[in-house]
């Protein structure tokens, strides 16, 4: 396994995941899909962060950044899910209203 090629592949996969997930976040109407898409998009970025060009030992700062990012992502997703549940209870459906008062 050559050193630099494998990490680059991960970073590229991360990019694809990010683009696809952001698209889903905007386009998919169901709020749960949007939330999960947001979570996945962040994971895509984490893959790009951990890219190590020289194929040498992994970069501890990059890994620490990703660890931090994961926790933040978990927190936001968890809260988003609770907010979604409450919105669903209150409005009867898990979608955003597209018309608000003018």
């Amino acid at each position: 396994m050559s050193g630099a090629e494998v990490p680059l592949a991960y970073a590229l996969v991360g990019m694809v995941v990010l683009v696809r997930a952001l698209y889903a976040l905007f386009v998919r109407p169901h709020l749960l899909h949007k939330l999960v898409a947001g979570n996945l998009a962040a994971s895509g970025v984490f893959l790009v962060i951990t890219y190590a060009p020289d194929g040498g030992p992994p970069d501890p700062v990059a890994q620490a950044l990703v660890l931090t990012g994961i926790v933040v992502s978990v927190a936001v997703t968890a809260y988003g899910a609770a907010l979604l549940a409450r919105l669903n209870e209150t409005s009867g459906k898990p979608y955003l209203e597209h018309d608000h008062e003018a």
């Binding site: 990010l18 952001l22 976040l25 905007f26 709020l31 949007k34 939330l35 947001g38 998009a41 962040a42 895509g44 970025v45 790009v48 962060i49 890219y51 060009p53 700062v61 990059a62 950044l65 931090t68 990012g69 933040v72 927190a75 936001v76 809260y79 988003g80 907010l83 979604l84 409450r86 919105l87 209150t90 409005s91 955003l96 209203e97 608000h100 008062e101 003018a102």
Partner: protein, 472 residues
Amino acid sequence: MSGAVASWLLAAPVALPLGAGLIVPLLRRGRSLAALAAGAGVVAAALLLLAVRDPDGAMELAVGGWSPPLGIRWRADLLAITFLLSTAVIALTVALFAALHLPRAEPALAGRLWAPLLFLWSALNALYLSADVFNLYVTLELLTLAAVMLVTLEGERQALDGAMRYLLVALAGSTVYLLGVALLYHATGTLDLTLAAGAVPGAALALMTVGLMAKGALFPLHGWLPPAHAAAPAPGSALLSAVVVKSAFYILLRLWLEAAPDEHAGRMLLAACGTGAVLWGSLLALTQKRLKLLVAYSTVAQLGYLLLVFPLAVGSWSGPAYAGAVWLAVSHGLAKAAMFLAAGTVMHALGHDRIAELRGLAHHAPVTMLTLALAGVTLMGLPPSGGFVAKWLLLSAAFGTGQWFWALVLLAGGLLAAVYTFRVIGAGFGEAALARVPRRAPQWLAFALATAALLAGVVAELPLRQLQEAAP
């Protein structure tokens, strides 16, 4: 200045509200007192920082004792101190208003305001001080969560909907911003803005900018703001419009004027977005039927002015343009907070905020009417307000750099602001009874903020001169 003093003086604005925010959810009583005490401490620290400021440099602290690139650096230069102090004054006043107004107006949510308010404040202060792009990401996340929580406090479907929209846009924005951070790190090997200055890849700058525009409701990514800010309780809306959204602009200032000062291509694009914000936001503000939505759209518009600083801060005009933009941010913060607090009083007094039915307000709540009028003066940019002085500087820079078309934007925005302000003021006259008599003390607090915005033009000479000297 000894290292020890620097350390706790810089840490206080971050640590005090954070500590209070963590303790407050565990208290049954005394939440507002804890919050106000922490807030007073922050104001004191900010004033002290201003007093001991070294005009030639900035107070800096290597957090944890580790300097960049290994560690994170806090720096308190004039820009940071300006934002720290103005945010502190606004936040403390809003907190006082909330302590006096909410128990009577909205008792169900009164106790739940304090934690998000404190966390929001701590995150803002950390954001102002931080010179590390990843640290900025984490502070932005804390800020967003606290802000979204403020939007949900009323609990109705519209509030939850606005909050969810805000959360999703902010989530997308953070993710794009984080990708920019990743690229910056890979290209420069550091996360510190000063170390990376001049070497920021255009792609990283673009990504971070797009992410920040989403978080800061900068046209065309502004759609989430009006429903969210209108649905929050009045003190929440005040903080959201006055200081939270400006945090994105603050970071953009740091990025475009300090870290990547040679990127000129994007600056025009930013100002074009600003133009869109001013025109679109103002036009939509004119058509609103509810006061809080009008004020929220006004925020979208006023944020647009701030983006004009980027093409104007060139050459010998960078000082005036920079000072004008910063002063505009400060003045708008004071005025917008005043407006939303006044809107809170209106809501309480009438039971609604429909502009068509504001009759009786001028007669029975004159302080609130006056607050709205004075705040409007700053938004319009009339003398002697801070808004006027700031716009004057930006106008001079526009003509001085030969970019007179931005002057048209500034003037057009002022005219439109006048129209929607007079619409609100005019609606308040006439005779009608109020549903409830609002307390006087909170009204005076809002009035004080509006007056401060007005006086910001009068006392501006020294601060503006210092800002011009400190311009990057």
